[in-house]
Amino acid sequence: MIDSAALQSRLVAACGELGGASPRPYVGQGVEGEVVINVAPDALPQVVQTLRREFRAIFVDLFGLDLRPEKQGFRLTLIFSLDEEENWLYVHADLDADAPQFSSLVEALPAADWYERVVWEELGVTPREHPLLAGLRLAPDWPEGVYPQRQDFRWQQQVQGVEPRYFELAPAPEGIVDYPLGPVRSGVVESGHYLLRTAGEELVDMRLQLFYKHRGIEKRAEGVALEHLPLIAERISGTSAFAHSLTLCQALERAAAVDVPPRARFLRTLLAELERLYNHLGFQADLCQATGLAVAQAQFDILKERVLRLNARLAGHRYLFGMNVPGGLSRDFDEQSLQAVRELVTVLRRDMETLSRLLLASASHRDRLEGTGMLKPEDARAYCAVGPIGRASGVDRDLRRDHPYAAYAEVDFAVPVLETGDAMARTQIRLDEAMQSLHIITQILGSLPGGNVYAPLERLPAGKAALGWAESPRGECLHWLLVGEDGTLRRYRVRTASFANWQAFSLAIPGHNILTDFPVIEQSFGLSFAGADC
């Protein structure tokens, strides 16, 4: 790791004439060693450009914080990943308490679009020159001017509904049909609305309307005792529950500067990979359903069910809820359970190899995937796509390797990356990743240290802040939290992998796809609505 103080001064020097400066002491002091710069709100676009160009900083999050109780107005925080330095960079912009605003970053950084709309809608901070300031996550009947992310808003507050406002799209050219899909649509799926614009068969364009399921998780967590937080984190996205609770627990552990016992780190890695496994197996099953390969679907579902049953045996829960607690794990596994893991890994390795071989040789399956739903590498980069989707479009990032956590630094694994960006690439990446997961699990089982799985956390003081991260099966997920009084939470910020990837999703639609490709494209992204909507 590069000396962060030196990096800090380089950054301040580079951004100096643009209004960058060292931060003064501030609320939500992060973890030692992280790099922070303070920037004037209007200099943000230039600073962001400089950071991306000269420091290869990768944008991961943007959110606002209501600091009016401290008489500091609002604070906008941008988080960048410095992959080469294995560090995180925070860019702070202090905004006026009465008329909070900043220069929109959308031109410099297209991915900032949704983030800015969230800040605008929920915190009442205006990104100037944003091309379209319309509501994003709040329900259509939510009254304007009620900002839930401000400190004075309570989670259980009554919010009287107003006349619903639905976002009107620009009319399509003559002859184009708007094909509405959802929110209640095919099969057993989550709620979300796609408006497909087709010229009949050809997909010309696609609009997204997500956030039907916005449950206000960030607000829900405020004021909750820290030890209860994993319960909330698990329910951000039930199928990435372990990754989310791990992210949260790691954030709390970093804030408390607690070293988790090695056995807990190793077992966390094991469980995280089991979660990845069942997700990737389920992904293949769903994709086979989309392409009509029923037997293959059943075969992958069988493997998925076996992993889920193993989860139930290990964790007492098929989706690994309740495993992570701040400071470690809630239970240890005996040798018998580990033997069960070992046995399943052997079976999975054999079966997955066979199934992958058969799958890749099935012409009817490949034909539907190849060249379908192309996400170009430049689009993936512009919209900061993460996880398997990013890696299928040439974004060579993986938090497990670039910012190692748990026991990932101690195991050996490869990160598959492809440049093609089509549905086939996304499938291939997940097949490879699942095999890597087995590889990791084998190593963990071979080198599992003994000892405790839990180290108690001391009570965190108010104002402590930390970022936690983990590579969920769908990509990088980040939680940032600020501790409040009495061991409760003051502010919870969740950036899920799906939120980052949904923006890129609609870029994969126009072009050479036809209407019947859509289910395949949707499945090949395998995005979670719950995660994005949270």
Binding site: A139, R154, Q156
Partner: protein, 177 residues
């Protein structure tokens, strides 16, 4: 008087229930709606179709359009934005129709409860016939719940108020503490 009326209503309701179960008992088509779940309930419902549980062997099928559905299977804590779509789905279903709430969220709101964002369960929006608790309910729980709705399984959970006599003093109880 009120008692007899109640009895009559109850009997009518039971007859209706019996008729619904007779009509749908052997082949049931389900439309699922996600009203704000975390996706774990959906994952478990989807697992009902895998070879381990194979719910189709019980004559239960999932259908795409509510126009063909006999049962509405609702998951999630009833977010504000899903109220209208859920109502529309219910309206689009032909009679007789059953509503099943899946998971703690749909039953009562779960950890989300009633808030600015959520209505806390679907009970205020639709008449619920069967509650399936759990977070998420396992596939076997789901099968039990579906069969219960069809009158093909016994209900195991019953309301119960136990009385515990305690002869000990209440050392911890101090008014106003």
């Amino acid at each position: 008087m009120a008692d007899t009326l109640d009895k009559a209503t109850r009997e009518a309701a039971e007859q209706l229930q019996a008729r619904v179960q007779r009509l749908l008992g052997h082949s049931l088509h389900i439309r699922h709606v996600d009203a704000g779940s975390c996706n774990a309930c959906e994952a478990e419902i989807k697992m009902l179709l895998n070879p381990y549980y194979d719910i189709q062997r019980l004559g239960i099928f999932f259908t795409v359009t509510p126009r063909h559905a006999d049962m509405l299977l609702v998951t999630g804590c009833m977010t504000r934005a899903m109220v209208d779509p859920l109502r529309q789905t219910y309206e689009a279903m032909p009679d007789p129709r059953l509503v099943v709430a899946v998971g703690a969220c749909a039953c009562t709101g779960g950890i989300f409860g009633q808030s600015a964002y959520t209505l806390g369960g679907i009970g205020d929006i639709l008449p619920v016939d069967v509650y399936i608790p759990g977070c998420p309910p396992s596939p076997l729980t789901l099968i039990h719940g579906l069969l219960l709705a069809l009158g093909r399984a016994e209900q195991r959970m019953h309301h119960d108020t136990r009385q515990v006599k305690s002869s000990r003093a209440l050392p911890m109880l101090t008014p106003g503490a």
